[in-house]
Symmetry: C2
Subunit: 289 residues, 2 copies
């Protein structure tokens, strides 16, 4: 088309796509072009603003490494990551939530009752629950891949002071479907703000805080894999998670427990907790694959 105009550009784009293009790819690319063109027309995007956008994207490249996924962070703070989760969240099961950029593969197997807190300061938190199917039947042999920040608000991959798999573990359920471990209460933290995503947050008057949470991925044969998070009911950032990850059914009360009431057996810390502690019970419901 030699007379491309503002109005026929998207049609010209569509006409360029080859007949052999995978139908799903064609659908995605055409929808993306239509929305991109619609955006530019709607705001009457100027050359100067376009230059700013290109400079922003080129700066994103400076902050992108194997350990630092600035584009995932951008997707997170724009709400795209959460939207993809919500679009595909299984009805009838526990809500999914964002994976985030800090999951690492190869977390070590940990037995029931394992302690992830070790010598880190803070209140002991006992986390337990049952992984069930939609009828309430416990699932045996389900795996729970768990990760969270240390009390300093940093994941092991961000923190040279931590071991690779500090506050990471992979637990497999027995016949009762139950998981249980001790850790420290996760803390609210800010997503990284030293890069272009931080600049964007500041320019738009947004903060970078995420409410405290435990990440997990639950897997079991015959069920859909569930990527999600558990949030603490008393967190001040529940209503303004920078990455839009909070869902009503993922908010749990972390219940204070008096000194002396820690389970006498079954946990690595049994017999070793003399102070007050806290407990969160969180059952997970998986849906068929």
């Amino acid at each position: 088309m030699r007379n491309v105009t503002e109005d026929n550009l998207t049609d010209a784009f569509a006409a360029y796509l080859g007949d052999e293009t995978d139908p799903r790819l064609r659908e995605i690319v055409l929808s993306l072009a239509r929305h991109l063109h619609g955006f530019a027309r709607e705001v009457r995007l100027t050359h100067e603003e376009w230059n700013t956008a290109i400079a922003f994207l080129e700066r994103m490249t400076e902050f992108t490494t194997h350990e630092r996924h600035e584009f995932i962070l951008l997707s997170d703070i724009m709400g795209l990551s959460s939207l993809v989760d919500m679009i595909h969240s299984a009805r009838g099961g526990t809500s999914s939530s964002v994976l985030g950029p800090f999951h690492i593969e190869g977390a070590p197997d940990i037995p029931f009752g394992h302690d992830m807190k070790r010598d880190y300061p803070g209140t002991v938190l006992l986390v337990t629950g049952v992984i069930r199917d939609g009828q309430g039947t416990p699932i045996q042999g389900a795996t729970l891949d768990i990760w969270q920040t240390a009390p300093n608000g940093l994941y092991s991959s961000q923190d040279p002071e931590q071991d690779t798999y500090s506050f990471h573990g992979l637990m497999t359920t027995g016949a009762d479907g139950r998981y249980g471990f001790t850790t420290v209460k996760p803390v609210s933290y800010e997503v990284p703000t030293d890069g272009p995503v931080g600049d964007l947050l500041r320019a738009t008057g947004r903060h970078a805080w995420r409410p405290s949470h435990l990440h997990f991925i639950a897997r079991a044969p015959g069920f859909r894999t569930l990527v999600s998070e558990v949030f603490a009911a008393d967190d001040p950032y529940l209503d303004e998670d920078a990455v839009f990850g909070v869902r009503g059914d993922l908010i749990m009360a972390y219940a204070p427990q008096p000194a002396g009431s820690f389970p006498a057996e079954g946990y690595a810390l049994s017999g070793k907790v003399d102070e007050d502690w806290e407990m969160v019970e969180f059952d997970l419901v998986l849906t068929p694959a």
Copy 2:
């Protein structure tokens, strides 16, 4: 908002923006979020597809350098660069077209009649025209920043065999508003296809060809700067420019001229052209700033 849903996500995003946010930035970011969310909802974007998109963006970073602007290329082949041009093309003047990623600052001043062809093979092309205002009055002291590929289809910044400013020049008009120089006829060429943009073109069955063109930026005090291109009327890719840059008024016939008819004076090549040559006359109309 602790119960973000597919339907209220864009509202939640809007609610996050600070009251002090620059109004124009707010307009742009909100429109971008609305279109991004609309796109993901429309195609029901899956996690796997989102992963593919993130991997694509992270691969973009590997191809982005000071000399290689893969994000500009992506904007070009998606039609965004041309759309910004079209939105802001001045009515009543020569159409603007894409700047492209190959413009370099600091092109040397060249006098009227300069020869850019030098010892490169090919037919001599004489390019001339008058830079005028909307009433047809020639503009004195206008500058024309010109650049094109060598006969091998490469810009000097892409080609270690060329000098920095090979096929680049900056000409200033005299009282008659006229510019004129000799060069070689530009050739059709492919935009770079060795990176992720090339992968995208191949996956969607598109070619990477641009019809042959001369780039220019025309500037004059009191007038809007015009970034544009001149295309050859006989080019096979006029109707399918990979970057959507062709406008009807930018297509010019390159007229064949018989041997012996080259101007006897006024050009560096005067008296030195014994063969057939070609000529393109292209007047430019600038609009008030």
